[in-house]
Structures are given as structure tokens and as C-alpha cells.
């Protein structure tokens, strides 16, 4: 027979542990986030998971579903309109991410200098990201109108003609990249600026004493020390690039002739415009998810590898 205290010991420890875990101070944080998590779970996580499921069915009304397996994926990958939207999305996203990173870094370095009116310029740069994307689309639509737009009226006045910014496929792609940058660069500049301000100024003083030129300082100190912030910018810009839709919809409607139709618009049209194809739209959503997830993971792993090196 075992002594009483040895019998009691194994049960007492978990009880104390459970009590400690259930103490108000431990539970409180979970209770605070619970309402948000319920809403997030119901309206974001669950629909996202359900999208994978629906992509294996065909439905034209959202009520009756016919199992088709991977047929929706096969249809998408052989559909010229989808392949074109996929290619356009890649072109847009790569250009958007690269240019965003370069411009945001450049602006952050400029706005990190001490000069008169710095606050004003920071505000001006950030302002477009506060505007509604729909307003931005309409605004640039008016500015870039071929015959009556502000830009072409000016260009025409100096004998440079009236380029069809929104009616020429290649120009329209350049335009949506530019407008995307105009909206978002201010936000990413702020992130880069916060990264710059986290760098200890004494390292620059030491480098200056050692005779390092501004270029050497940037390449050997600023750039490596900004790498974690750059990684955040690249990941966020990648996600934003793949998800771009609203300002493009109001600016070009995906035209001319599908030249600026990106994947989200393609998915939107399959899901919400007659003839509705929920399964096909969901399959498009899954492919978009894989793209975003894949690119983000790639950037993340690449960033970690470089940090480790």
C-alpha cells in the first residue's frame, strides 16, 4: 500500500496547474479576443475553408451543387481569359512589388533627412492611401481620358499628341501599375521610415569617422539593417498586388479587351455576374490563394535565409 501523500501528489499537481491556467488573469486575454475571433472565424476562416470545398462542385445558384471533382481547375487552366488574367496578375504584381520596394526605400531615406517642410511631404506622400480606391479610379480616369483628360490636354498643348492611356492595352497596364504605386507607396514608405528610424545613429557616426561614403553607408549598413523591414514590405506588397481589384475596376473595368483584367476581377465576374459559376470562381480563388501563399512563403524563407547568412 502506498502512503497517502504519494497517492495525493499526482492528482494535486494537475489540479493546481488547471487552477493556475483557469485563473482570471490567464483567461482574460482569450476572453478579450474571443468576440473578434468568432466573427473572424465565421466570416473569414470558415468561408475561406468552404471555398476549397465549393471549388470541387458546380453551382449556378448557390443552392444546388453538383460534384465535378477537379473539373473546374481543368476548365480554368485551359481557359484563355483566365490564363490572360493570371499572366497580367503576375506582371502587375512583380512590377508593383519591385517598384514599391525601391520607391518606398528611396522616399523613406529622403524623408528621414532633416529639412524644412518634412512633415508636409510625409503627409502628402501618405495622403493617397487614405482615399477610397473607387475615388482614385474615377479621378485617374478623368485625368487620363484620351480626348478631354487633364494630362492629354497638357500634352496636346505642347505638341505631344493624345496617347490612349486607357484604350491601349500596354499603356493601360502601365497606368494601373502607376496608380497602384500612387495609392500604396506612401503607406510602405512609412513602414520603411520606421525601420530607418530604428537604426542606431551612432553606427553612421562611426562609419563617417572611418571615411565611408554615403553610397558605402547605404550598401553596407542601411540596406542590410533594413532587410527585416524590407521583407515585411515585400510580403505586404505581394499580397496587395495579387488582391488588386477595386481601383482597376473603376479605372479601366479590366479593359481594354481584358488587358488589365486581373485574377480577382475574373473571380468576381464568375461569382457575381450572370451566368454565375460559383465552383469556377472558387477554383480561381484557390489558385489565387496558392499564388499569394506561395510567393509570401518564398519571400519569407528567402528573407530568413539571408538573415541567417
Amino acid at each position: 500500500m502506498l502512503p497517502a501523500d504519494t497517492l495525493a501528489a499526482p492528482t494535486a499537481a494537475p489540479t493546481r496547474s488547471r487552477r493556475r491556467w483557469l485563473s482570471p488573469i490567464k483567461i482574460a486575454p482569450y476572453l478579450f479576443v474571443l468576440p473578434n475571433m468568432i466573427v473572424f472565424g465565421l466570416f473569414t476562416i470558415w468561408p475561406a475553408i468552404n471555398m476549397f470545398n465549393i471549388s470541387l462542385y458546380d453551382s449556378t445558384n448557390g443552392r444546388t451543387f453538383r460534384w465535378v471533382g477537379f473539373q473546374n481547375y481543368a476548365e480554368l487552366t485551359s481557359n484563355q481569359a483566365f490564363l490572360r488574367a493570371f499572366t497580367s496578375t503576375l506582371v502587375f504584381t512583380v512590377a508593383f512589388v519591385v517598384l514599391t520596394t525601391i520607391l518606398a526605400t528611396g522616399y523613406a531615406i529622403l524623408l528621414n533627412q532633416s529639412f524644412r517642410g518634412r512633415g508636409f511631404f510625409r503627409a502628402v506622400l501618405f495622403l493617397p492611401s487614405l482615399l477610397s480606391a473607387v475615388v482614385v479610379g474615377l479621378l485617374w480616369g478623368w485625368i487620363l481620358n484620351r480626348t478631354n483628360g487633364l494630362l492629354n490636354v497638357g500634352l496636346d498643348a505642347v505638341g505631344l499628341g493624345q496617347p490612349g492611356w486607357l484604350i491601349d492595352g500596354r499603356l493601360a497596364m502601365v497606368v494601373i501599375i502607376f496608380v497602384g504605386l500612387w495609392i500604396h507607396v506612401g503607406f510602405y514608405t512609412l513602414i520603411m521610415l520606421s525601420g530607418l528610424q530604428g537604426i542606431d545613429p551612432s553606427v553612421y557616426e562611426a562609419a563617417a569617422i572611418d571615411g565611408a561614403s554615403p553610397t558605402q553607408q547605404f550598401l553596407s549598413m542601411t540596406w542590410p539593417l533594413l532587410r527585416p523591414t524590407t521583407l515585411v514590405v515585400v510580403i505586404l506588397a505581394t499580397i496587395s498586388g495579387f488582391q488588386s481589384f477595386d481601383f482597376i475596376w473603376t479605372l479601366t473595368g479590366g479593359g481594354p479587351v481584358g488587358a488589365t483584367t486581373l485574377m480577382v476581377q475574373y473571380i468576381y465576374e464568375r461569382a457575381f455576374e450572370s451566368p454565375i459559376r460559383y465552383g469556377l470562381a472558387s477554383a480561381g480563388g484557390v489558385i489565387l490563394f496558392i499564388c499569394v501563399f506561395g510567393f509570401t512563403l518564398l519571400n519569407y524563407l528567402n528573407g530568413r535565409r539571408q538573415d541567417a547568412a
Partner: protein, 433 residues
């Protein structure tokens, strides 16, 4: 996170996804069951209806007037729910999915709802044979029972800026007269040059409006029961060539077409700004222009090429099987489409009637009556095959491709002949389901 935990998480998510994939969302698709036949109201069925409606403007008040009459005569309550046209299909699909369908709705097409419509046999005698151009073929089910009513007709056609035509000293045809496409283009060009307008002719960017031109050049997308391919490649190519040439020559606003992307675009603003003397749209613009235009304008007869007449459109009134009181909904639909009710809608909202008796005897419009007579006269000239083309359940899907093909011709990526051949392929594919 350790590699083992990552693998565990991945396995968990995969298992979850696979388990989920085994669960069918919604209801499994089954073969369509025959309609259950006319329903009788449950003894305690509420004498209340909900009517989902989208409005083109003054028709809303005319509808409310008629609802008040119905409520008084039938001791019933009808709740009018006005939704934007752009959200109509989503709204109805969501309500059907939530088992909360309205009793009655005004819809632009029947394709998405065919399995959900209530049998209106209770008012069959009041509906059969009363409506235009064989529309019964599309508003009745396989057993011959009515499931919808073709409730209002639209007719595409040109509107002209009379002030600009008069200032330019150019004439245009009036009611009962005709002009050809070449004559209309020549007149529009003359006014454009004389008055310095930006364009000569503008047309709404939609396959429906372009179908007017296709029909005039002798072809439609579909015929028969709406699923029979009817696209004539040679005639279609001629129409596309003409349309693209007009755009490239800046007689038509090419920018409006290409900037629309995949959205519908109506250059009504260009017409209202007096920058185009001829605007091809339809009779639904009459009420709107009469309040917005600060110049003299008029409806003109459709131009002829190989054929005359316009291209029809319209709306349907339907009841839903899920409705709480289908017999009352049937009575309401019959009432709203009686000769008296359609006359009221036509007079108050500049609608065109769909009833044969009203088309025959004519409507005395109190507002813009001369313009409405021009549209009504074009109804008589409109070829029969335009109706099944418009009613086709696959018209919308096909129309999207038509716009894309024409856009490619406009950008020099295809010839009109190649685009017309591609349209024929799309028509055949969509007709085959």
C-alpha cells in the same frame, strides 16, 4: 515551430480539408422535377406579399399606385422592396438560398430562376395568348403552365438632338418614314462637322444594343427556342466591320467602348452634353431625358440595312414556389398585367405594353407621346427572330464574348471576319450547353 509540429499542422489541415470536401455544400443537384401544379392557399396563409423590384425611374410611383389599388380590392398587403438592378440577381439568389424568397419579383431574364418559379396556372386564362410575339413559348413550362409574364417591353432605337440637326440644316425621318444606315451615318457626320460635336453617333456598350445593328444587318445570335444558333458569319462580319470603321473614324466614341472594360457603359452623358447628335439606346431613356435634357430631342425610326425595326428587350414578373401565398401572388401578377394596369404603367412611366390588345389599339401617352409612337411603330417592324434571341437563357454569357471579340477587332488583333467566326463558335458552344 519544429519540423514535427509543422508536419502535424499540415496533416491536420489536409485531413480537415479532405473531410470537408466530402460534405456537399448546399443541396445536391438532382434532376429537375416537374412543377407541382397550381397550389391552393393554406387556410391560414397570410394575405401579404413581398414584391422585389428594380426601378428605371418614374415607374416606381406608377407601381405603388397599382399596388394600392390591388391592396384595396383584395384586402391584402403588398410590400414593395426596391433593389438596385446591379444587385438583383445576387439578392434573389441569396434570398432563395436562405429559404426567404419574395412572393413576386420583376426580373430581366428567366434563366437563373427556372427551377424556382411558381406555377401561375390559377390565372392561366387571364395570361395565355395575351402577350406579344410568341412570348408564351418562354413564359410557360414544359407542361404548358404559365410560370412568368412578359410584363414590359423595351425597344432599342435612336434618339436625335433636334436642335443640332436643325442648326446644321440636316433632316431626319419622322414617324412612318425610313432611313438606311448609310443615310443615318451621312446625316450624323454632316451634323458633327457642321456643329463641331465630338462624335456623330453613340451607342450603349452592351451586346443587347449591338444586337440591334446585327439584326438590321440580317442576323441574330439565337433563334427558335432561344437555344438555336442563328449567327450568320458573313452578315455578322459586315455589321462588325461597319461598327469598327465608325469607331476608328471617330464617328462613334471608340474610347467609350474600350474604356468600358467588361462593364456596361451608356454614353447618355455625351448626348446630354450635346456632343453627339444621334444616340442609339432605347425607349427607357425617354422618361429620363425628358427631365434632364435642356435641348430639343426626339426619337427617330431605327435605320434599315438588310432589315428594319429595332431589337426588343423587357422584363418579366414571376412568383416563387417558396412564396408564402402563391395563389395571391398569381392574382397580383395577373392584376399587374391586366390591360388597365399596363396602360397605367405605360402612360405614367413611358413603358411599352406587352399585351397584344394594347399594342393593337395603341396607348395615348401624356408625356412624349410622339416619341413613344416612334418606338411602338418600330415594334411592328422588328423581325420575329429578335425575340428568341433576346429571351435566350445564354444571351448574357454569349454577349460578353461578342463585346470582347469586337474589342479585339477594334484594337487590330483580329479581322471582322475572324471575330464573326469566333462569335459563331461561341454561339454554338453556348447553345449546346
Amino acid at each position: 515551430m519544429t519540423k514535427r509540429r509543422t508536419l502535424q499542422l499540415a496533416a491536420f489541415l489536409t485531413a480537415g480539408a479532405l473531410a470537408l470536401a466530402g460534405c456537399a455544400p448546399g443541396q445536391p443537384a438532382t434532376t429537375t422535377e416537374p412543377a407541382p401544379g397550381p397550389q391552393s392557399a393554406a387556410p391560414d396563409a397570410p394575405r401579404e406579399l413581398t414584391y422585389v423590384y428594380f426601378t428605371d425611374g418614374p415607374d416606381e410611383q406608377a407601381t405603388r399606385d397599382l399596388i394600392a389599388q390591388f391592396e384595396q380590392a383584395n384586402d391584402a398587403k403588398v410590400t414593395l422592396e426596391v433593389v438596385p438592378y446591379a444587385n438583383l440577381e445576387q439578392t434573389l439568389q441569396a434570398r432563395l438560398a436562405g429559404n426567404n424568397a419574395p412572393d413576386v419579383a420583376r426580373v430581366a431574364g428567366l434563366g437563373p430562376w427556372l427551377e424556382d418559379l411558381a406555377d401561375l396556372s390559377a390565372v392561366k386564362d387571364e395570361l395565355d395568348g395575351q402577350f406579344i410575339a410568341g412570348s408564351d413559348a418562354f413564359t410557360h413550362d414544359a407542361s404548358g403552365n404559365p410560370i412568368a409574364v412578359f410584363s414590359d417591353l423595351t425597344m432599342n432605337g435612336p434618339l436625335v438632338n433636334v436642335d443640332l440637326f436643325e442648326k446644321a440644316g440636316v433632316s431626319y425621318p419622322k414617324l412612318g418614314e425610313k432611313w438606311t444606315w448609310d443615310e443615318m451615318v451621312a446625316a450624323a457626320k454632316q451634323v458633327k462637322e457642321s456643329q463641331g460635336t465630338e462624335y456623330g453617333i453613340a451607342i450603349d456598350i452592351s451586346a443587347h444594343r449591338l444586337s440591334t445593328m446585327f439584326s438590321q444587318y440580317g442576323t441574330t445570335l439565337f433563334a427558335g427556342d432561344g437555344m438555336e444558333p442563328n449567327w450568320d458569319v458573313a452578315k455578322g462580319a459586315t455589321a462588325i466591320e461597319q461598327f469598327v470603321t465608325l469607331n476608328n473614324d471617330e464617328v462613334m466614341p471608340k474610347d467609350v467602348f474600350l474604356q468600358a472594360g467588361s462593364k456596361y457603359a451608356a454614353p447618355a452623358d455625351v448626348f446630354l452634353a450635346q456632343q453627339v447628335p444621334v444616340y442609339i439606346s432605347g425607349n427607357w431613356q425617354v422618361a429620363s431625358l425628358s427631365s434632364k435634357a435642356n435641348f430639343t430631342w426626339a426619337a427617330a425610326p431605327n435605320p434599315c440595312a438588310e432589315r428594319c425595326g429595332g431589337f426588343p428587350g423587357g422584363k418579366f414578373m414571376v412568383g416563387f414556389e417558396q412564396g408564402k401565398n402563391v395563389p395571391l401572388a398569381s392574382e397580383f401578377i395577373a392584376f399587374m398585367n391586366s390591360a388597365e394596369a399596363q396602360t397605367h404603367m405605360a402612360v405614367e412611366a413611358n413603358f411599352l405594353p406587352t399585351r397584344n390588345d394594347l399594342i393593337e389599339q395603341g396607348i395615348e401617352y401624356t408625356n412624349r407621346g410622339d416619341d413613344m409612337k416612334v418606338f411602338l411603330a418600330d415594334v411592328a417592324l422588328t423581325p420575329d427572330d429578335t425575340y428568341p434571341a433576346n429571351f435566350s437563357p445564354v444571351f448574357g454569357a454569349t454577349g460578353r464574348e461578342v463585346i470582347a471579340e469586337i474589342g479585339q477587332v477594334m484594337q487590330g488583333g483580329k479581322t471582322a471576319q475572324e471575330a464573326s467566326e469566333a462569335i459563331r463558335t461561341v454561339v454554338e458552344t453556348n447553345a449546346a450547353g
